[in-house]
């Protein structure tokens, strides 16, 4: 009965459109106040970019959202459920619907590409057959155009290929929200652009919502429906690319020069 009510509440929230809401988020390390009353809303189906300088706390923000870091205070609602209140099991259920692309890719370097992609499927190990696993792995690899690397080790791949494999691993469970931590950093501009285009294509295919963290303006221009500028741990400004580009505020202007 309680379950039923919860599911209904969840449905309601989803149809209302906000899949992720961050309210009054505070996080500091010692005296270093990284996030200071940060607010953000991700609407179903949109691509939201969080723009911020290196060290501004973008990775900290995204790690709080996925529950890898515990915020000092504040609310983080994923699909209408405050993840800071959830126990481990419930958090895990919410996480199953959220994909996370690490800044460093975080590929398992002792496993082959196939094993890397199979790993998230362990979550559903009781409900999927080996045939289904193989199909999912194949499909995810084809999505990123790297079907031939299936038996290679991550160390044998180039930086761009590794990013694609990491993307395929993130997508294999067809998440409803995908969190990207600087998907183009460390790649040359051409490869970076390819990755962004790939992200956009996949976004259309699976109709997911994305939160993209970046300071790469090409990435921002191509991907963003809406931008949030993160300065001093706060949401400094918000708007579409063209709006922010016209801004005369020096804090915003610095990104567009």
């Amino acid at each position: 009965m309680k379950e039923q009510v919860l599911i209904q509440a969840e449905k309601k929230k989803e149809s209302s459109g906000d899949v992720l809401v961050v309210k009054h988020l505070y996080k500091s390390f010692g005296s270093n106040k990284v996030l200071n009353d940060f607010n953000l809303t991700l609407v179903n189906g949109e691509n939201l970019v969080v723009l911020g300088k290196s060290g501004s706390g973008k990775s900290v923000l995204i790690k709080c959202i996925i529950g890898l870091l515990m915020p000092d205070s504040g609310v983080i609602e994923l699909f209408g459920r405050n993840i800071t209140d959830l126990d481990h099991e419930e958090l895990d259920k919410v996480r199953a619907k959220v994909g996370f692309l690490f800044q460093s890719n975080a590929l398992y370097d002792s496993m082959t590409v196939r094993q890397n992609l199979e790993f998230p499927l362990r979550r559903h190990w009781m409900h999927v057959t080996q045939q289904e696993v193989d199909n999912l792995v194949q499909e995810a690899l084809e999505d990123v155009g790297l079907a031939h690397t299936i038996n290679m080790m991550p160390a044998e791949l180039s930086g761009g290929m590794r990013k694609r494999i990491a993307l395929a691993r993130t997508l294999i469970l067809k998440p409803e929200i995908i969190l990207y931590d600087e998907p183009t950093t460390g790649l040359d501009p051409v490869t970076g652009k390819e990755i962004i285009e790939l992200i956009m294509t996949i976004q259309k295919k699976y109709r997911s919502s994305s939160l993209i963290i970046s300071h790469d303006m090409t990435c921002v221009r191509l991907a963003a429906d809406r931008i949030v500028v993160l300065i001093n741990g706060r949401c400094y400004a918000e708007g579409a690319y063209d709006e922010l580009k016209r801004s005369v505020d020096p804090g915003i202007k610095q990104f567009f020069e």
Partner: protein, 246 residues
Amino acid sequence: MQETGDVSVFAIRFFKEAFKPRYEISEFIRQCFVIGYKSLPLIGLTGFIMGLVLTMQLRPSLIEYGVESQLPAMVGIAIVREIGPVITALIFAGKIGSSIGAELGSMKVTEQIDAMEVSGTNPFKYLVVTRVLAATLMLPVLVMLGDAISLFGSYLGVNIRGVTSFHLFYTQVFDNLAFGDVLPAFIKSFFFGFAVGIIGCYKGYYSAKGTEGVGQSANSAVVVSSIVIFVIDLVVVQITDLLNLN
């Protein structure tokens, strides 16, 4: 001191998580194979040399006292009771402790442990519980194999001067070994294995960021577990003494 507390907390977490499903059986079996197989050649080689050298070193003294015939018995007791378990455990710490420390350390630094966490696999269970259990179970096996190879080395040592049959040698060794010699040695090797596993995992799991952090984890995993091995040895000797097992 602070660290002793942290390792204890880590060990308590190990016992809590080890008995909760889901059990990572296939990873555990893989780790047993990796851990056992990786250290076997080294342990075999050192065990063989130890047995041989010990025998050759002891012979002159025993001749002096006129008890050369006791050579197999002496060597047997020394190897089975003390030298076998301790040397094997120290080599195990050097080989396996460092590799666990480095492996988990680099997984930590490159966010692979976080990646497991978000993809719904408990990394503590998948990485730590399997490795600690494998180390705890494999070391006693390695100690027994090491003892056997050592005794074979010793047999060759006895045979360098004078001829003894294989059968006679082993009869002499085992006639002089009591249950009270074998049991404590066997039991303490479980503790040695557990110590190497848990310390290696702890050092890796809480590795400092950066490549340097990984090296440090591997290094201090070996240093700390070697010291702990001697401490456990000391404690076990005291206990067997108290219980009057020999």
